[in-house]
Symmetry: C2
């Protein structure tokens, strides 16, 4: 048997039945990854904390494979469409790189490259005969139910080999996508961290740190260039958080504008907060590329819960973009590298004639955060405990935290109605406040810092507040990474809250060195197209 | 003291405190209606069952006032805009006619004509000075919270003098609307009937019959031409049912496309089914007129729960309209006059080259009806009982029916999630079924018959199923009324269900003579504009 992959810290424990099934799943994945793609002992025994360069230096990929996997999805698909690349060579390159990535950051849960190559061959034959590609999305992996492949809702007891493709997968296949991997998500799918019965995924830029969550395996894979693009489902940050922590581009669209039918969950019908599915990318343009392609298939005709809003990114805005900068949310002050990125962005934007910059003060974010935390588990976490019990699975610290009082309690039906009414009143009050500010977008942190050390992500306010409001949010690299020489200390100020103190206490620039620093741009509900246009402007100014 | 208005049958009872407060409300309304507008004893002592002609024959209205109140809103507003009518004379005519209507069908709960006239005077002054009207909606009453006026959520304990205008009222006022009455709704707002602590509203075409509900007071008032147009809020039929029963035009739009912030309810946050607000009219074109005007104000910018869909009625459809005719829903066969109207419509439509007609068989309507009935009161009716108790108010038979098993039970949170998941799966299955039918719209009954005798409306399936699905529905007159000479008996067939037997048992063409017969046209979610265009075609063919 081949040498096992890198030991993964703190795998969740459970009873005997649990351990047996976990072992089986681990061995299954182990067996799926070809011996020819194992990283040699000299490399595995001597890993740097930043593993992003290892695919390029390990010698397992050809120059051509490295070149293919360096392309973003837009370029990749353009080259396939022109016949400059075949689907087979593309899928081969990505499959190999994904296997390498997995050994370094433990991002996969299922690996089916043979299926991907078979499909790629069909696509190449079609191209040879018809002279055109089936659709623009050749070679995109993702994580929602794929027929016959491993799926779960974040607990061992929910593992399935999915009986059908979900609608998103059907659409992607129709667009010519090739699927070859499924990626890891955390226990309960409710961590900004990725650790599950499959093990723990790591941040490619610093394996001491989390890759974020819940789509952390997906983000780690994409950051390793083991996939050109991916899909997440964001109910509290699950697209934006892992994209932010892994230095990617990601959009959480307004909810119910993208197909998400049949996604796996353990609380189906829990609709107090509706997650939203969207792309995780290696460029800003890929966000538009992905959504344009999916929307063009008119998924609202098939999935009746969807809102048929048009998708047209304006070339020009009809007035000067007004950007509110929110340096902190009144609850947790971002750690030094995030504050540096915000101030750097602010000064660059202020220096531009193209935009108008104002200070944006948070509107009762603590109150909103309290509401969404209470909404997530209206049953007081009883279902989570039941599903754990069914799998013989022990609860992880972050799962215990997310379902614990004071934020979570068991509700009667009238109490749940009252809670949802508070949600709607908050939405109205926030909207009034935003309208009064006159801002088109606000720029803020996506998390109170960069990726944190494992199991420390105990504040969701910067992403979850916009889930509560259902405002689209776009995360993207700020142009800087955590530098222990610069990002030394907080400005001296009293902590704002207990979580603020917590983030100050664990901040350690030496340990967290090299973590990407991403920013978040937010617009009001249904202003997704304007947001994408605004992000282009902001990125251009900030990165100039 | 003036002679009291017509005795109203079966006013709900209650305890002493309740009776005292009800008496106070009755006396208040009594005092608001001027003595000069009392119908003489000779008329009130000798009323026909059809009272629609009495305003024209009673001698209290001038020819000019009769002519004004004969106009639909579109014509009325056009004449005001051209200076052919003043706001003051319009409001005077409508105020007088509303007071007369109330004596005949007991439709009002608050009457504030003086306020209306003061506002009309301002509007006329503005017109004299500026040569234009403030907006297109001069002279429209309605029933949502109006600052300082009587409001309630259908129970005595919820009575208020509203502290603020609701958003809809603010918009209507900005458009130049004049408000002068509030109208009656049933206990709990959850009857297809209108009987409350204010008393019972009657059907103007046959006072033996209900005017429908929940916006029954509004429908009775409009059918009496005591208002040109009105507003309802439809969570199970509350626009469509009273419009259908009173021979009006009414549209329940796709929900959350029209402003409904601050509407009164006793279960705020109960969001398993979201009602939808829309117009109740005396012509089809007034439906478009009303919605166009309201949507043009962009209410979604103010009310963040709203979806900003465009409102543009296509002049022409891009293909031949495909109409599915559903003769019954598989649960209750419509009573003879409704079946006659459906078959008459079918044969006229089949004779037209302009449309394509197919049979539409219902898709598991009983299952859907069971789901929505269970969704309305996830608390098993506990809140209804509490709110009744608080007001010392006895429960009415239809309220008891609507909160009773088997349809209603108390849910835990996981049971409520499971119920909502069943809702979403039903929506998906229904949409798939509809898509396979290829229909653009379906034509069906809005209720299993015309208006029924009081307190008999114990089946909501024909309207509520489309609330569950959130499909827009347009009701409109079929061109016929119940004729005891023609609409004699059911075709002999076994009853489909217990409610089917119930509707057969009480059907009595002599007693129900003259009831208007309306039809319902339904489209899929968010296809409101196509639906309005389709209704124009269908109405033209059916009424030709």
């Amino acid at each position: 048997m081949a040498k096992p992959f890198r030991a993964v810290p703190a795998i969740p424990s459970g009873n005997e039945r649990y351990n047996a099934k976990v072992k089986q799943l681990n061995e299954r994945l182990e067996a799926q990854l070809p011996a020819s793609l194992r990283l040699p002992k000299e490399i595995m025994g001597n890993l740097p904390v930043n593993v992003t360069q290892i695919p390029e230096t390990c010698g397992l990929l050809s120059d051509q494979e490295l070149a293919i996997t360096a392309l973003d999805a837009t370029d990749l698909c353009a080259k396939i469409a022109k016949g400059e690349l075949t689907a087979v060579e593309t899928v081969t390159a990505y499959g190999k790189r994904a296997a390498i990535a997995h050994q370094l950051v433990h991002c996969l849960v299922d690996f089916f490259l043979a299926d991907g190559l078979a499909r790629a061959k069909e696509l190449d034959e079609y191209f040879a005969k018809e002279g055109k590609v089936i659709g623009p999305l050749h070679g995109l992996p993702e994580q929602t139910p794929v027929k016959g492949k491993l799926g779960s809702a974040g607990f061992l007891s929910t593992v399935e080999f999915s009986p059908e493709d979900s609608l998103m997968v059907k659409i992607l296949r129709d667009l010519g996508a090739v699927l070859y991997v499924k990626t890891n998500q955390p226990q309960s799918i409710m961590h900004l961290e990725t650790v599950s019965f499959h093990g723990r995924s790591l941040n490619p830029y610093n394996t001491n740190l989390t890759c974020g969550g819940s789509s952390g395996g997906e983000a780690a894979l994409i950051a390793m260039k083991g996939a050109p693009i991916g899909v997440g489902n964001d109910g509290g940050g699950s697209i934006r958080d892992p994209c932010a922590k892994c230095g990617l581009w990601g959009l959480r669209p307004t909810s119910l504008t993208m197909p998400q039918g049949d996604y796996l969950h353990y609380e189906m019908g829990n609709d107090g907060i509706i997650p939203s599915t969207g792309p995780m990318c290696r460029s800003a343009r890929d966000v538009d590329f992905f959504i344009s392609a999916v929307r063009a298939t008119k998924p609202h005709l098939v999935e009746p819960l969807l809102v048929p809003l048009p998708w047209n990114i304006p070339e020009k805005l009809d007035r000067k973009l007004r950007i509110g900068i929110m340096l902190h949310d009144g609850v947790v002050v971002p750690q030094p590298p995030m504050m540096r990125a915000l101030k750097r962005a602010k000064s660059k934007l202020e220096a531009s004639d193209e935009v108008e910059v104002v200070e944006y003060l948070p509107f009762e974010h603590k109150a909103g955060y309290d509401i969404i935390r209470e909404l997530y588990f209206e049953d007081g976490g009883a279902t989570v405990r039941r599903v754990l019990e069914e799998g013989g699975e022990d609860i992880l610290p972050l799962t215990e935290w997310v379902i614990s009082p004071p934020h979570t309690k068991e509700h009667t039906i009238p109490e749940a109605w009252e809670l949802r009414f508070r949600r709607d009143k908050y939405r109205q009050a926030y909207s009034d406040y935003w309208n009064a500010s006159g801002c088109d977008v606000i720029l803020c942190a996506p998390f109170p810092g960069t990726a944190c050390p494992h199991d420390m992500a105990r504040y969701w306010g910067y992403t979850a507040i916009f889930n509560l409001l259902d405002y689209p949010g776009f995360v993207f690299p700020s142009g800087i990474k955590l530098d222990p020489k610069i990002d030394v200390a907080y400005e001296s100020r009293e902590p704002l809250s207990e979580p603020d103190q917590y983030f100050r206490d664990f901040y350690d620039p030496e340990y967290m060195v090299g973590a990407p620093v991403n920013l978040q741009l937010v617009a009001k509900r249904f202003n997704d197209c304007m947001l994408v246009a605004a992000q282009r402007i902001v990125e251009r100014i900030i990165l100039s």
